[in-house]
Symmetry: C2
Subunit: 402 residues, 2 copies
């Protein structure tokens, strides 16, 4: 008998029909002789609807009360899913985050799981019950409800798998695995059979939108084997695991991230530590800077360009304005009309030709590159947003078509 | 500095505007120098909507999972109300039933409060916070969420007032007090300034729909002074308290209850214990029998008529069918076209003329009485449902017009 942890996202349980569908899948795994623990997100648009309700009353509500409100979304889905399994006639129990033993820090709206007290979980599993756990939520040391922030239910599922020592953690979503590129606009995109944690981490942070980074980091740390599958079909899905034995493919995927804005500080004094000053001011506000480009100094002046998330743009411009004396830029330019296009693959680390091949693909497609960044397993370029999809297709065809 | 417990029902917080209105009222009491604890129900139709969602998936869901689902309704209102108070700028915290220390038995969907652990409540009040508590819910010994059943939020409020030793428990609703009759169809109905617990108990159980019986029972037991007020105006409301000093009025109120069905067992053998047999079978199923009428025996046979709640009718007919041999009735008749009309007043106990006056009022209005029951402080009669409103008006005018 194995132990399987499954996670179903909001779209997988968005209405009564989908809830019944998910219930049937869970029962299938249970009837095959496994113990099954399930983490569930809030139904469909529930979370957005609750946020709307709150904003109508107080757009600046405390995060503590927002968490109290949002946690109801998952509590609704777990009870409905448990009722669906009751209907099929299997023993089942739903547990909120706190009942399932999720302890977190007190960083409301973006809490980190500190531990999972598995006593209750284990006692329900010992009774051969299917256990349905509210994802995305936990309890802090003040006995107050916290939520885990974006992708929180994935993290809940991996935490359950890690602490219970599950054989596998199956993440059900509305795509049937991890693709070499977004199949919505790259016709030739192919599903990957498996991918390493590190590659998945890069893909997730680059906007692949399948698995949240925090969950992959945790899976890597605790050696939890992940499977990304569709809740709507029976396809094999993609395994995310420790060692990627089949290292044939240089590049594993091509991604596009539209949540980018570029800022340029023009004609800044070219003295050591200038860039550091700027980025120190920004990072003090907990805002991440991504790509950075510094022009070669000219007449004692230089340009510094960098990218941030689009949602952080306004705040960053404010910071620059507040410290304009210190920074001393002649002009500040910015644009949202950019996208980051990246290739990811553990195989590229020792292969200098990869970057050349990528630039060639873009050159042939007449797409201009405005910034470049490379790490051991990825290369990112900044292009005009309107050309991003074409860029992904061009690169994808160059590397992944065969 | 006093301690006030307030309770707001679902219609008082049904939308953002009403939530802000309630927040302002709470802040008013707080700014007057009081500590304020508030029990809140789920917004408007939330509970019904959740029940609908559940039925779509499983009409026979376990009560444990139903409670898990329904408890989200109050959790939504407490967080929204706390956000509204944050907006006004007063210190506030929302607490679920379990956070507020409500411990109950395990009778899911109709749990009884066993105690309220006030540690958390007191520590928040010590910080001069307004405390918003989810009504209607608690936690049983298995750490599972329970709900208190109909009128549960009133009971939550009274339990808070009793355990915290509040100076008063204000129940806000959409009517501005307890009336001598339902003002929706009795034009001459008048608001009572005060009423005793016992009178309120009779009025509540007779369908006055202002306060739930369990809350009044608890208020009586723990000497909690209640005030029933409207959340929509500043009228004085009605006090419910121990001793009713102004005993001038014989009759305090006239009520109508449409949740009644009458069953008649015709031509039953007239032997001792026959009625007992029937009612024992029914009470074993936890169904309450209300009015009972037994005809005088004739040729060794008699008729037994009694009333039950309309919703229990079907089940009672089943029980009678299952035991028809034992009961031995020649015929079973039943009808839902009846209403119970009652007068309540502590003053009537030593006044034999009251019943006569009531019957006279009905006789003058040409309304037929099919059953009669009396207790120390009430007299109930069963009339045809279509004549019930007219009956209430006739009796009300006879006793309470001056």
């Amino acid at each position: 008998m194995g132990l399987i942890v499954q996670k179903y996202g909001g779209s997988s349980v968005r209405d009564a029909e989908r809830v019944m569908n998910v219930a049937n899948r869970i029962v299938e795994a249970y009837d095959a002789g496994n113990n099954v623990v399930v983490a569930v997100s809030a139904q469909g648009d529930t979370t957005d609807d609750l946020i709307e309700k709150a904003k109508e009353i107080n757009p600046n509500a405390s995060k503590r009360e927002m968490d109290m409100l949002l946690a109801t979304g998952e509590q609704i889905s777990i009870s409905l899913l448990a009722m669906a399994i009751e209907k099929i006639g299997r023993p089942v129990i739903s547990l909120t985050g706190w009942q399932a033993g999720f302890k977190t820090d007190s960083n409301y709206s973006n809490a980190r799981i500190s531990r999972v007290d598995t006593e209750r979980l284990k006692s329900e599993l010992d009774k051969r019950k299917i256990v349905i756990v509210a994802g995305f939520q936990g309890l802090n040391k003040y006995d107050d409800i916290t939520t885990l922030g974006r992708g929180g239910s994935d993290t809940s599922a991996v935490a359950l798998a890690a602490t219970l020592g599950a054989d596998i953690c199956e993440i059900y979503t509305d795509v049937d695995g991890v693709y070499t590129a977004d199949p919505r606009f790259v016709k030739s995109a192919k599903k990957l059979d498996d991918i390493s944690y590190d590659e998945m981490l890069e893909l997730a942070s680059l906007g692949a939108n399948v698995l949240h980074n925090r969950s992959v980091e945790m899976a890597k740390k605790y050696h939890v084997k992940l499977a990304v599958k569709s809740s709507l079909n029976k396809n094999e899905g993609t395994f995310v695991k420790g060692v990627n034995k089949v290292e044939k493919m240089l590049v594993r995927g091509v991604t596009r991230d539209n949540d980018v804005a570029r800022i340029s500080l023009c004609n800044v004094e070219d003295i050591p530590g200038k860039a550091f000053t700027v980025f120190a001011l920004i990072s003090k506000e907990d805002i991440g800077v991504d790509l950075i480009l510094q022009s070669i100094g000219n007449n004692g002046r230089k340009d510094i360009s960098f990218t941030v998330k689009e949602s952080d743009l306004e705040r960053v411009l404010e910071i620059i304005e507040e410290h304009k004396e210190t920074i001393g830029a002649a002009e500040v330019k910015y644009t949202k009309d950019v996208s980051k296009v990246s290739i990811v693959g553990a195989g590229m680390v020792n292969n200098a030709g990869v970057a050349t091949k990528m630039f060639e693909a873009l050159y042939n497609a007449h797409i201009n590159i405005s910034m470049i960044a490379t790490s051991e397993i990825k290369i990112s370029v900044l292009v005009a947003r309107k050309e991003a999809e074409r860029a992904v297709n061009a690169i994808h065809d160059k590397f992944l078509l065969d």
